[in-house]
């Protein structure tokens, strides 16, 4: 059925399905919602310009978006860093009491630091899975064997947990 669908009709459907999802993933990955929106739109724009459907559209979009994130980080001379203290951290949509907001902000920083400490592949795998991408899609996006995704996620989960617990205030003493 998809094969019979005109390019533009299918593109509009994919845009409606994938834009928000890709944005959420990139926002978690970068901690910068505005940049995440830019990268998600650029990836979708390139899909239109491509003029032909990749084998796995979702994985292709993620792969292109990851490259855009890498290029942007390189351009900002922030290679290897995900956490930028000056960058706007993601704020919850609903207003919170100051102490609750502070605690939430500290927690976000801690999560970001933990993500920064693990490898890029582990970070991508963990965040893609958190957003609900399938193992097949994760494998295609990361150019990884699909049979190895379970193992990769176990390793990434343990690495993240260890890094997160290292960042616990009590653990630093």
């Amino acid at each position: 059925m998809e094969r019979d669908e005109p390019f533009e009709t299918r593109y509009r459907r994919i845009f409606a399905e994938e834009y928000a999802r890709l944005f959420r993933h990139l926002a978690r990955l970068t901690g910068e919602p505005e940049a995440a929106a830019d990268h998600a739109q650029e990836a979708l724009l390139r899909l239109y310009q491509r003029g032909a459907w990749p084998l796995d559209v979702r994985a292709w979009l993620v792969s292109v978006a990851h490259n855009l994130v890498r290029d942007a980080h390189r351009a900002k001379r922030r290679r290897g860093r995900l956490l930028d203290e000056k960058a706007p951290l993601l704020e919850p949509a609903s207003p919170e009491a100051p102490d609750v907001a502070l605690a939430a902000r500290e927690r976000r920083k801690r999560v970001r630091r933990a993500l920064e400490r693990i490898s890029e592949r582990d970070r991508h795998a963990l965040l893609l899975r958190h957003e609900g991408y399938s193992y097949r899609e994760i494998a295609a996006a990361l150019d990884y064997a699909s049979t190895g995704i379970g193992k990769l996620l176990v390793r990434a989960s343990r690495a993240f947990r260890a890094a997160y617990e290292e960042g616990e205030p009590d653990a630093r003493s």
Partner: protein
């Protein structure tokens, strides 16, 4: 035989088929050691999920798909709001624009001494052998250095004429027209060719080391290079391809 942790993660992630999931659950019901590991993995995944939820960004900023499509058609880079990090340094863009050459009588394919351009010129001669499609004749070309990719977008399919795409060394991209008129709009990484009503022939010179190249006629992609992959409406031989407009759908 105990289950592997990767299988347990796949079970919790819903990635096992029904039969495999049933078999694994049966094993967990019988094996206390695996059941304990399973609880450990489940607790790890739950804890990580809770932590990652702290990063949830809310809703994506609204964007119109029509606007995005229009931008894609024009092959223009997405404008960014002021104050946001720029995807490409301004100096680089300025350099690209400064490098722009618009020459009414200097087509890219006629610079003497260049075998590639001589070849392109020779290819165009084939089309020039036909009666000139317009009375104007003449040549025009633009040349610039794309920063990361190149998009050449022709506004529409012509009744006559052809596009010769030449893969050439060096950083410079060129788009030239002969035997007819066309207007060029140059962006950082793109050239929009307004060829409406024209019957010109074109030479598109693509820098050999530019990995991401797209040439479109209307909404049809006629040439695409992404990394090592090249897709072209007509075969690429000896570093060039000739795409008659007649072959474009």
């Amino acid at each position: 035989m105990h289950v592997r942790e990767a299988e347990l993660v796949a079970l919790f992630d819903g990635e096992l088929d029904a039969a495999a999931a049933r078999s694994l659950r049966d094993h967990l019901a019988r094996c206390s050691s695996c059941a304990a590991r399973s609880r450990g993995i489940e607790a790890l995944l739950d804890a990580n999920r809770d932590a990652l939820e702290a990063l949830d960004a809310g809703t994506a900023p609204a964007v119109s798909v029509d606007e995005l499509i229009e931008r894609a058609r024009l092959a223009a880079p997405i404008p960014r709001e002021r104050g946001r990090p720029q995807g490409r340094p301004r100096l680089q863009r300025a350099a690209a624009v400064a490098f722009l050459v618009v020459a009414a009588a200097a087509a890219a394919a006629t610079i003497p001494g260049s075998p590639v351009r001589d070849a392109a010129s020779g290819l165009l001669e084939r089309f020039r052998a036909e009666p000139p499609p317009t009375a104007e004749g003449g040549e025009a070309a633009v040349a610039f250095e794309p920063a990361a990719r190149l998009v050449v977008a022709f506004a529409e399919r012509q009744e006559r004429g052809a596009i010769v795409i030449v893969l050439a060394p060096g950083p410079t991209a060129r788009v030239g027209a002969r035997d007819g008129t066309a207007r060029f709009s140059v962006g950082t990484d793109s050239v929009a060719v307004d060829n409406r009503g024209s019957a010109a022939n074109y030479v598109v010179t693509v820098p050999d080391d530019l990995a991401d190249v797209l040439v479109r006629v209307g909404q049809t992609t006629v040439f695409r290079r992404f990394g090592a992959d090249i897709h072209s409406l007509e075969p690429v031989r000896s570093g060039h391809t000739t795409i008659p407009f007649a072959s474009v759908r």
